[in-house]
Amino acid sequence: MISFNNVSCTFSNKGGIKNTNFIINEGDFVFITGHSGAGKTTILRLIYMDLFPEIGEVTIRNYSSKKIKQKEIPHLRRKVGMLFQDFRLFPDRNVYQNVAISLYAAHYDLHDVKNKTFNMLEQLGIKNKWHHKPNELSGGEQQRVALARALIINPMVLLADEPTGNLDPKASIELLNLLYEINQNGTAVIMATHDYSLIKRIPEYRLLQVSDSKMVSIT
């Protein structure tokens, strides 16, 4: 589903990622680990084509980094859900609107937006907070809003860039349980983290280790 074929993408400070090869399959749960600055975020940005490799090729289903047109990027992004350490919610919208906008932006089936959105909020246990603004929520709740926003358009893969970075241990574990549940339902999850204690929460996972801009190993 996702393949990196001899990918190099480096920045002026020599950071980034070099000569990387791997394949991620449908339904995989992959952790990307490595110290800060190792290149985890770079890999994720290459997947959602926010960055393009200088050498090599990234392919996601039938989208290739070599061939994709600027116009097609939104379509790719609708297949790829994203979570960030800082949540990236829309601060001036309430919980409901933060999630529903995803349907509009993705031109997803707009039949019954209300029901779909409330169902999603219910699944993630934040339905009763639907009218709150993000800054009125705890970190764990905000990340769940972000998760709802990503999942509501049925992505094939969920990318999470240190999603527990701003969460307390309890909320972190809750989020991991949610991610596991999502993965069990068939969505691939790729999560960058340097918190090894969280990894063992997932019974079956793959591990992609990066260090100093190089992939050290993949299981």
């Binding site: 939104p74 001036d92 993705a106």
Partner: protein, 288 residues
Amino acid sequence: MIVITFLIKEGFKSLIRSKYAGAFAILVIWIALIIVGLGFITARDALVTVNDIKTQFDIDIFLKKTSTPLEIKDLATTLTRMREIEEVEFISIDKAANIFEEEFGEDIFEILDYNPLPPSFTISLNRLYRNPTSVESIISKLRNEEIIDEIKYRKKFLLLLEKYQQTVLIVIVFIFLFLTLMSVLLISHSIKMTIFSRREIINTLKLIGATNNFIRSPFIIEGLLQGFIASCLASITIFLISYIQNNYLQPIFNYQIIIGYSYYISMIIFGSFMGFIGSIKAIRRFLA
């Protein structure tokens, strides 16, 4: 369709969120449109009132004394057929003598023993052609008519009028262009500020798969709304001004402001169009 409704709502919200920047742009454009709108009416009335002095544009065509009735009849037909001409009056030599007597109180035959006055036509022009250029063009058309001896018209007056009209027109066009440009720039600036303050949100929208059009539309709608609101306000203001003038101030300023619906509609279309251009300009720079 649902997406379009959503984006229009977003445009409204965006305008409301922009608070002072948006309100300021609307205020200034409102005032600018009042100036442009009243300027237009003043110019129209100033130019048209002069054109209403119908006889100032009359042309006297003096014929050769040798012209035969048939030739005169032919010319009369030619003249009546010209679309610039509203009325053709033939003044025979007898009639000319009568006019002479009326004006000078003396019978021409008593002075000269014969009638030296030539037959002539006096033509008055259609409203649309009461301007110096048209007068000149009519005269040049008649120049090769054999039986015409001399054409007289108020050349000095027409030249003066032309100068006056040109000056008014240039001033109006200049003010118009200046205010239009200023309005477009203001809208563009206000939209730029909105885009700038929302750049993180724009990035997030890109991440969740929004197309450029989806991201841009609310800003375009916001600009369009600014122009629309400002021009509606300006229309209402001008309507009130004309209403007050026509109903209460008539005794003081003897002047009736006549404005048709099309004027207001044009103003609103024009205002919205300015808003549209302004936001397109902002987007081209900042959301490419």
